[in-house]
Assembly symmetry: C2
Homo-oligomer: 316 residues x 2
């Protein structure tokens, strides 16, 4: 059977018809255009679903379930309890989709959790039952699959590993805590760390690189490192240490088969992944275990969330 996966984002709504081999047969997309009412947004969600079905040459009768990933927290009744960037407060997403598409099984989950499911089943996880997906982006997003189940906790708000403190009384985090992993390991944090090092080292090649690019980005320090710039090397080494710290925390708590890393920073490839792997190998608590967590690069990019959403109806 086919299913529909929807990625409801702050910028775009994307829907896809997905087959049993986790392939997207057709997609459709429209801007989310926030702020506007939930009614209007869900009308557009139904519209992109219908467009995707039309492109795939199927009807709702061919669809076994609809799954949607959304920012924010979702409860077991399919209600989006709170999603800051959509302006949603207790929006009954599941019912609103059913009203528009008909009486079909509908599943709603957090977008980071959907992305984790997508990577675990259709991406680098290759069906792994113990899997954590971490996205190093504006923030640090994550989703946990343990013993074959998505760990959403008692209130469907689980998997916020970016908001685990790695430095008591450390950098302020957007969540109100101090010292969260996100405040050290996100792309935003890397840019802040790069800017701080540039202020301290006016002779660093990072100034030239940033001027050429027109901005300081997550690549600036990595590019400087490749030119042998000491300040750049230090920024990168410290950043990788912070990323590794959170990864090892997750290994020790959950012992996943795979931790998959996504987000733009991953384009650095082995420059990032190799030292991360070394840190994890050196500090994991399970040093005597035969089986060790693999640190892998995410494979599906933005498609992970859509494919994962489409999978919500077919996993336990």
């Amino acid at each position: 059977m086919l299913s529909i996966g929807i990625d409801l984002g702050g910028t775009n709504i994307v829907a896809a018809v997905v087959n049993e081999e986790y392939k997207m047969l057709a997609t459709a997309k429209t801007p989310t255009n926030t702020p506007r009412s939930a009614e209007e947004i869900f009308d557009d969600i139904a519209k992109v679903c219908n467009e995707a079905m039309e492109k795939a040459g199927v009807t709702i009768a061919d669809i076994s379930s609809v799954g949607m990933g959304t920012p924010g927290t979702v409860n077991d009744d399919g209600v989006i309890e709170f999603a800051n960037n959509l302006g949603f407060n207790n929006v009954p997403a599941k019912d609103m989709i059913k009203e528009r598409l008909g009486d079909i099984p509908v599943f709603i989950a957090n977008d980071a959790n959907c992305a984790a499911l997508g990577e675990a089943y259709a991406g680098c996880g290759n069906g792994s039952k113990n899997f954590v997906a971490v996205t190093l982006g504006t923030g640090v997003g994550s989703g946990i699959i343990a013993e074959g189940k998505l760990v959403t906790g008692v209130n469907a708000a689980g998997g916020e590993c970016g908001h685990m403190v790695i430095m008591v009384d450390g950098e302020e985090c957007t969540c109100g805590r101090k010292g969260c992993w996100e405040a050290y390991a996100s792309a935003t944090a890397l840019i802040n760390q790069t800017k701080a090092a540039m202020a301290e080292y006016p002779d660093s090649v990072m100034h030239k690189i940033a001027a050429e690019e027109g901005k300081v980005s997550g690549r600036t320090a990595f590019d400087a490192m490749r030119k042998g710039d000491i300040a750049g090397i230090n920024v990168v080494n410290n950043y990788i240490k912070y990323v590794a710290c959170g990864l090892i925390n997750l290994v020790n708590a959950l012992q996943p088969e795979i931790i998959c890393i996504g987000g733009g920073i991953c384009n650095e490839g082995d420059t990032l992944m190799k030292p991360l792997g070394k840190f994890v190998q050196a500090e994991r608590y399970s040093i005597h275990s035969k089986i060790q967590t693999k640190i892998m690069k995410a494979e599906l990019g933005n498609d992970a969330g859509i494919i994962g959403a489409a999978l919500l109806g077919s996993i336990d």
Copy 2:
């Protein structure tokens, strides 16, 4: 049906016959007497099992399964891969118990995970499917139950939340990392924090309390606080902040229904539990969720591990 739970500890081996209502009908105990061979230790394990059955007036025919909690890491084949304080390296625990007790289902798990199961099903969890047990003792032990399953990970070494770093480059931990939660939140850490404050404040009443007790203990700073001693108050407040930091990390990652806290420090009761609850309430990421994690005191003490071990055969 009845089952047998075994707690293989560094000091004692305890076995109990446990009924379907999670009650221990009879127990037997013998010293572990390390170091000695695994063969000898498993002979004694079989002996205490037989003693417990005899006391309960039952035979092995009345027993549906045998479960054992052990320190260290256990793989899916029931082999204890490594247990430092028992001197065990790749000991086939499951097979060795079967050889001695007959062809009965045998399950082996880490002792902290067994204790978590015991508290979740028979203790303060009251059957909770999303549950974390944390023990503040010599170290910080923990066990995770997510979506009804014990989270042991891909190598049965999961649940080591005490070895999640909360302070990058912080205090040295016994595991080789720096800044682990255990190095700040264990009873051992509290004693170190107390001693450091005593060295800094020679006029603190902690000196008198420790002299009367003959040692600095996990209670010293709490007792000083109750006498209005500023240095004692600061030690307690900082310690509670460290404990809370790790708890909030677990809430954000796993959103358990309950986190249960065990270990001697829990005897402080509300003095510990109330401020912990306040910290969690203030800093949890899921501030908009209707359902929130409860922080509770463990109920079963040392029995949690034995009852949890007995349960291994009856849970998924």
